[in-house]
């Protein structure tokens, strides 16, 4: 099953568990096989042991292959349980009499591994079934062999299986939570990316239109072009090409800086005083530099016509790309440029800021004008790897939390549920019962402190080592207080438990520290055995079995904890890659839809007008043509204004509508009373449409009033000179906006009113 965006953490976790299960299975099969021969004594027979060890060895290899190939439980788990159950039933023929009643025999080690690894790779119910079936078979085998003894080993097997099953539930929840968080974050990021991409492209398109179509229409509306102008048809053709480009599938990518700037400077009266450095720039940056340079050159041609214009492109030592456009024309006072002039603000500065660059315009009356464009070079780090790292950290945190909880629960449950009960049951048999109790209490206290520190993420070396030393000492006392005849029996609880405290204390430390801890603990145990004279062949096999059985689990847990961090990074990388694909697809879809809609809106509105101006069928000096240009230029301006972030969008857009009238020399007076409620873009368009038409007809004066109440907004325009084309205000009404008009003498009064 391929990993999907919603399952990456769980899938990666499951793979790690498979590796742990395979490692433990093979390791325990080898250890058990060695112990089986090393400790061979009646009633075990060579034939039976040889047959059994052959089966376990072959099966373990098969188990590894099956599991790694399938990447999950199922039949391998059932097969493993069957092998363990058969061994359990035959336990009376496979181990020495001395170990039948305790948990130090090789069959116990093999069965114990089975009940522990099955829940790692199987579903909860399968894990529980194995935890019941294998101990039941083992109990039956014990009953066949010894009849009288209580099946303590079988009970322990059941407890182990049930405990691991419960702990796996906790860990799987953590992985599922990580997946949920990944999904949520991805959705948020995708939304933001789509929005940003849409806005960026919208703005870029409006900049293009501002510099071309809108500028042409405004000049015509203001009466600045005479009949038979030579330059207008050419400009109108270029504007039509700009509109067609809005529908182009994607921006053409310029290979390098000259590739972007050459087409801009060719054919214009500008001196390029040095070769343009051939550095590669991202397509968006190249487009921004080209667009901003075009606007700077256009401005220079418009306002500083006879002057000399120079362009200088360079790459600075820090990798920043700069383009300087300088003229020695009359200059201007930058402070005196009104806010509603979009040229410099949007087309130069806005363009550069959109690509993390900047632009400065310096000019003074009589001193020429310098426009400096700057792009700081490659963004440091880049966005996607950082996002992936953040995601990995998030998944890792969830995993870590789950594992911390598991280790704390494991040690706590074991120390109370096993160690304490064993201690109390055998309290009369210890050499020094008080020392045994103190050892238990000391380990409990160390465990509590270590658990709290683990949860708080504190890993300071000094305290950690003190706790580890304390645990070793307390464990040694606990082992030493056990009489010789009970060594390695279940009464010898400290023998196996001390290692788990090592895991709790050293979980966040390098593995060699836990390795050292476990080695010292084993040395103490073996030393006590030797001191008691119990280190014969069988004793050695029992000790090796027990040491392997506990240490392997403990080291595996620590290594799994460390592997989880890397697993989280891999899961995050997968999630990030998949989410990037989905993001790109959604961005592309939305951009495509936006683009088509924008193209149609603009084309339907202005293409016929521009075509008429281009082929000469429309006379730019004609009043009606000028009026149509004023209307369409006003609508474009309003469209541009809609992309600005301002406190009062309606007023901002009304000012945009008034701009064309202002350019035509109309004195516009704007009055606001009351407070404007938040209005949707469609309502604002309906409210401004009739006023826009009326403003296009104004001759000398226009009074614009806006009244805002929480449930009502009224926009009214009073103009002199009704204009040549009778506007159709009723056509601009919408379901929530009413439009009324009154004409008398030479006044036209139009009102658009919205009611909630």
């Amino acid at each position: 099953m391929p990993a999907t965006g919603s399952r990456v953490a769980r899938t990666a976790f499951a793979r790690l568990m498979v590796r742990c299960a395979v490692g433990l299975r093979i390791g325990s099969a080898v250890a058990a096989g060695i112990a089986a021969f090393a400790g061979l004594a009646p009633p075990a027979t060579v034939v039976a042991v040889a047959a059994a060890v052959t089966v376990t060895t072959v099966w373990s290899a098969a188990y590894a292959v099956l599991l790694l190939r399938r990447r999950g439980g199922g039949w391998p788990v059932l097969g493993d349980a069957a092998v363990a159950a058969v061994l359990g039933l035959a336990v009376g023929k496979l181990v020495p009499a001395a170990v039948l009643t305790d948990t130090t025999g090789w069959v116990f080690l093999y069965a114990s591994t089975t009940v522990i690894i099955s829940p790692l790779v199987a579903r909860t119910l399968v894990g529980l079934a194995v935890s019941v079936a294998v101990p039941a078979a083992y109990a039956a085998g014990l009953a066949l062999a010894t009849a009288a003894e209580p099946p303590g080993g079988a009970l322990l097997l059941f407890v182990q299986g049930a405990l691991v099953t419960a702990l796996m539930t906790v860990l799987r929840r953590a992985a599922a939570a990580a997946d949920g968080a990944v999904l949520q974050q991805e959705a948020t990021e995708r939304q933001a990316a789509v929005l940003a991409a849409r806005r960026a492209e919208e703005r870029e398109h409006y900049r293009l239109l501002h510099d071309s179509v809108s500028a042409t229409l405004t000049v015509v509306a203001a009466g600045g072009i005479d009949t038979g102008s030579a330059s207008l048809p050419a400009q109108a053709h270029r504007d039509l090409a700009v509109i067609e480009r809005l529908n182009a599938p994607d921006q053409p990518a310029g290979p390098d800086l000259p590739g972007w700037l050459r087409p801009v400077v060719d054919g214009r009266p500008v001196t390029v005083d040095a070769p343009i450095p051939a550095v590669p720039v991202p397509a968006a940056v190249g487009a921004a530099l080209a667009g901003a340079t075009t606007e700077a050159l256009t401005n220079a041609a418009r306002h500083a016509a006879p002057a000399r214009v120079q362009l200088h492109a360079a790459v600075e030592p820090d990798g920043a790309v700069t383009v300087l456009v300088a003229d020695d024309g009359p200059g201007f006072d930058p402070a005196a440029v009104p806010d509603s002039r979009r040229g410099v603000r949007e087309s130069v500065v806005g363009r550069m800021r959109a690509v993390q660059g900047d632009a400065t315009v310096s000019s003074r009356p009589g001193g020429g004008t310098r426009v400096l464009l700057r792009w700081p070079g490659r963004p440091d780090g880049g966005d996607d790897p950082a996002a992936g790292a953040g995601l990995g950290e998030m998944i890792a945190t969830r995993y870590r939390r789950g594992l911390d909880l598991v280790v704390i629960l494991l040690v706590g449950v074991w120390h109370v549920g096993n160690d304490l009960l064993v201690l109390l049951a055998n309290r009369g048999d210890y050499r020094w019962p008080v020392a045994e109790v103190l050892s238990w209490l000391a380990l409990a206290a160390i465990g509590a402190v270590a658990g709290i520190r683990l949860w708080q993420g504190r890993t300071g070396r000094t305290v950690t080592w003190l706790l580890a030393g304390g645990a070793l000492a307390a464990g040694a006392v606990g082992i030493a207080a056990v009489p010789a005849d009970l060594l390695l029996s279940s009464a010898d609880w400290a023998w196996g438990s001390t290692g788990w405290f090592g895991v709790l204390v050293l979980l966040r430390r390098p593995p060699r520290e836990l390795g050292t801890f476990l080695a010292i603990n084993a040395a103490v145990a073996v030393g006590v055995l030797a001191d008691a004279g119990a280190l014969d062949r069988i004793g050695l096999a029992r000790a090796a079995t027990t040491i392997y059985g506990t240490a392997a689990l403990q080291l595996t847990l620590l290594l799994a904890a460390r592997a989880l961090a890397a697993t989280a990074q891999r899961a995050a990388a997968v999630a990030e890659a998949e989410s990037a694909v989905r993001r790109r697809r959604q961005v592309a879809e939305r951009l495509h839809a936006d683009r088509r809609q924008r193209y149609r809106t603009v084309r339907d509105a202005v293409a016929p007008l521009l075509a008429g101006l281009a082929d000469g069928t429309l006379d730019p000096a004609d009043r009606e043509v000028r009026h149509r240009c004023a209307v369409e230029a006003g609508r474009l301006r309003r469209l541009f204004a809609e992309t600005d972030d301002v406190a009062d969008p309606l007023l901002h857009e009304l000012r945009a509508c008034s701009y064309i009238a202002d350019q035509r020399g109309v004195a516009v007076d704007l009055q606001l009373t009351g407070r404007l409620p938040a209005l949707d873009r469609d309502v604002r368009r309906a409210l401004t449409e009739a006023p826009l038409l009326a403003l296009a007809g104004a001759e000398r004066r226009a009074r614009v009033t806006v009244l805002g109440r929480s449930d009502e907004v009224a926009v009214s325009v009073l103009v002199d000179g009704p204009g040549p084309a009778p506007a159709d205000p009723a056509g601009t009404a919408s379901s929530t906006v009413m439009v009324s008009m009154l004409e008398e003498d030479d006044r036209r009064w139009v009102e658009a009113r919205w009611r909630r």
């Binding site: 009055q671 009373t673 109440r709 009064w749």
Partner: protein, 226 residues
């Protein structure tokens, strides 16, 4: 001989000339400027002291002199305020303190003669911007205007022509005038106690804009909210 005398308080000498010019545009020359100064003292000393109407610029030497409106109103002086600060709060505060009318600076040229003449007979005159402010008023304790009164105010604010408002509303121009004046009297009725408030309300009762039993005691906004 002019029917009405006015004293001008404004700190811009250019405005003095402007006001004189506006008054002279009236063909019947009904208003005479008897005194002008850059401080309110000019209205408290002869010959300004006896002028029928005080025309007050709200911003004198960089200070908003809203409290001076109260001083004049308590003394029964008919104050017409004009200012470039025409935000809603200022307009409402000036009316609440007993000024007869508020004119935005750009309205003064077209409306100052009509406003001064109305004030001289203790009648309210509402210039378009103040009408818009009243129509937009949403304060919880605002006077209760009827829908038609509010509509008349809004359309007057928009069109600056009572004839056009009458056409839009389908009523006589005198009715438009009545709606607007009645709305203004409701604001006077809700204003602070002052001699000018009494004068305005008394004239309104005579003119039939409001009944005597509709006149209410003023309760300050502070005491109403506590």
């Amino acid at each position: 001989m002019a029917e009405v005398t006015v004293v001008l308080v404004d700190d811009h000498p250019v405005v003095h000339d402007g006001v004189r010019a506006w008054l002279e545009q009236d063909p019947q020359r009904r208003v005479e400027l008897v005194a002008a100064g850059d401080d309110v003292e000019v209205a408290w000393t002869a010959p300004g002291l006896t002028a029928d109407v005080v025309l007050l610029d709200l911003n004198l030497h960089g200070t908003m002199v809203v409290p001076e409106v109260s001083r004049f109103a308590e003394a029964g002086r008919r104050v017409v305020v004009y200012s470039e600060h025409s935000d809603d709060a200022t307009v409402l505060a000036v009316m609440e303190r007993g000024a007869y009318a508020f004119l935005a600076k750009q309205e003064a040229r077209d409306h100052c003669v009509a406003t001064i003449l109305a004030a001289a007979t203790d009648r309210p005159y509402v210039a378009p911007l103040a009408a818009g402010t009243m129509a937009a008023d949403e304060r919880p304790d605002r006077p209760a205007l009827s829908d038609r009164e509010r509509t008349a105010l809004l359309l007057w604010f928009q069109s600056m022509s009572k004839a056009a408002v009458a056409t839009r509303m389908g009523i006589a121009e005198t009715t438009v005038r009545q709606y607007i004046q009645r709305a203004r009297i409701k604001y006077a009725n809700a204003g602070r106690p002052a001699a000018t408030r009494t004068q305005l309300l008394a004239r309104a009762i005579q003119d039939g804009l409001i009944r005597a039993d509709e006149v209410t005691e003023y309760a300050s906004r502070a005491s109403r909210t506590t």
